[in-house]
């Protein structure tokens, strides 16, 4: 447990020293979302129609960007070797890293998304459910993107490939997230979608780090 906290704090401290990396996922999130009104029409009715979808898609894409360097930097400077050889199971270490990255990239998303939602004229009553859905979804996206990052850590052009590999796996999150949002907007009960998101979150957090750790070990050979 101490090692878990140690790695978590280490990664958090490192993220804050690389502040440019801190800001990027959030900025990316906002920029992508802003492209949609530019591409189609800024009419209120239209925005309200696709607003939820836009925010969710932007969240998916920015999560890919945020976790790209999760393992690569450590692999390149040799810290990953040391972590692999430590007595703590690599899965625990990977989970700590993922959580640190979620705090730095996912939480700002959760905070920014209601503001974006309001800008797309999503009704105020729908916001609590919407925020909860994003809060449940971002850990799942972080884990999936981390698996993608682990699979591609030893590849040079890894970034784009993570998208190809992991976006199909993120489709359920997209579907359940937009379902919850739509249900909230239309005044229906979103509990089904939220529970599904919660169970996906539990599943991915428990199994995902194992897959990522396995991939990192193979890649570092």
């Amino acid at each position: 447990m101490d090692i878990f906290i140690l790695i978590l704090l280490r990664d958090l401290r490192l993220s804050f020293r690389r502040w440019n990396e801190l800001a990027m996922p959030l900025l990316f999130f906002i920029i992508i979302a802003s492209l949609f009104p530019l591409a189609s029409s800024p009419e209120i009715s239209q925005l309200r129609d696709y607003g939820g979808a836009v925010i969710w898609i932007s969240a998916l894409l920015s999560s890919l960007l945020a976790l790209d360097g999760l393992f690569r930097v450590d692999a390149e400077d040799g810290s990953m070797e040391q972590l692999i050889l430590s007595p703590t199971p690599l899965g625990v270490i990977v989970l700590a890293k993922i959580i640190a990255h979620w705090i730095v990239s996912g939480v700002p998303l959760v905070i920014a998304s209601p503001l974006l939602a309001l800008s797309f004229y999503l009704p105020l009553e729908a916001l609590p459910v919407f925020i909860l859905a994003i809060a449940l979804a971002t850990p799942i996206l972080s884990v999936l993107a981390a698996i993608g990052a682990a699979l591609t850590v030893s590849l040079r052009g890894g970034g784009a490939l993570i998208g190809l590999l992991m976006l199909p796996m993120m489709v359920p999150v997209l579907i359940f997230g937009t379902w919850a949002t739509d249900a909230a907007v239309q005044g229906e009960n979103p509990i089904g979608a939220l529970l599904l998101l919660a169970s996906l979150a539990i599943l991915s957090i428990s199994l995902g780090p194992l897959a990522a750790a396995g991939a990192v070990k193979v890649a570092m050979e």
């Binding site: 280490r10 040799g78 810290s79 070797e81 040391q82 692999i84 430590s86 007595p87 050979e221």
Partner: protein, 206 residues
């Protein structure tokens, strides 16, 4: 605490790279206090051998044991006894020297004060400087300091003297001798065999 005495043993180790057999049939045993120097031309497999000894890579044939257990299946206590220092430093460049040392110390559950270590490494005045601003030689010394701080029983060092000046090289040489005297085991791959040969119990030429 441990069932068996500290010893590193390999049996019929066979190493391939890129479809070519680098060496096979490597057998050796190192007991407490023994040091092995691995020498050979570039590309002959020194790094691969060390990585196999650490458990990071798997050999094409044969096996490695530490305290009688296969190197892949060590329990946490045995795993904690092994320290590996490869070509890469393993330092976070945004952290200061001190922060890196403290991190590795915490990872190994150690708590000794670091002033004397920093003195030895001649990094005292640089302890609060971020690693990215250090020279290559200073980084290597910091990396070796991080290895030292783990107080491991088995040292696996891959070309530790790279980028070190003569003072640094003699420091590492004395560390290895001390480590062996206090019952540790070390395997050191190096080009500069002359600097380290006096510490060695056996020499492995690839």
């Amino acid at each position: 605490m441990f069932n068996e005495a500290a010893s590193l043993k390999t049996k019929s180790l066979e190493v391939w790279r890129g479809g070519l057999c680098l060496f096979e049939g490597l057998d050796f045993t190192l007991e407490s206090g023994q040091v092995a120097i691995v020498s050979g031309a570039n590309g002959c497999g020194k790094t691969t051998l060390l990585r196999i000894l650490s458990g990071m890579n798997q050999a094409a044939g044969g096996y490695v044991t530490w305290r009688g257990e296969k190197i892949h299946r060590l329990n946490a206590d045995s795993q904690a006894e092994i320290a590996y220092q490869g070509h890469l430093d393993g330092l976070k460049k945004e952290f200061t020297v001190l922060e890196n040392l403290l991190f590795y110390q915490a990872m190994s559950n150690q708590k000794k004060p670091l002033e004397s270590l920093l003195e030895e490494l001649r990094l005292g005045p640089y302890q609060n400087r971020q690693v990215r601003y250090l020279s290559a030689g200073q980084r290597r010394r910091a990396a070796l300091g991080c290895m030292r701080v783990k107080t491991a029983k088995l040292w696996l060092l891959d070309e530790p003297l790279t980028n070190l000046d003569t003072k640094g090289a003699s420091l590492i040489s004395s560390w290895i001798s001390e480590h062996a005297k206090s019952g540790g085991i070390a395997v050191v791959a190096t080009h500069q065999r002359e600097s380290l040969i006096q510490t060695a119990t056996i020499e492995i030429e690839l």
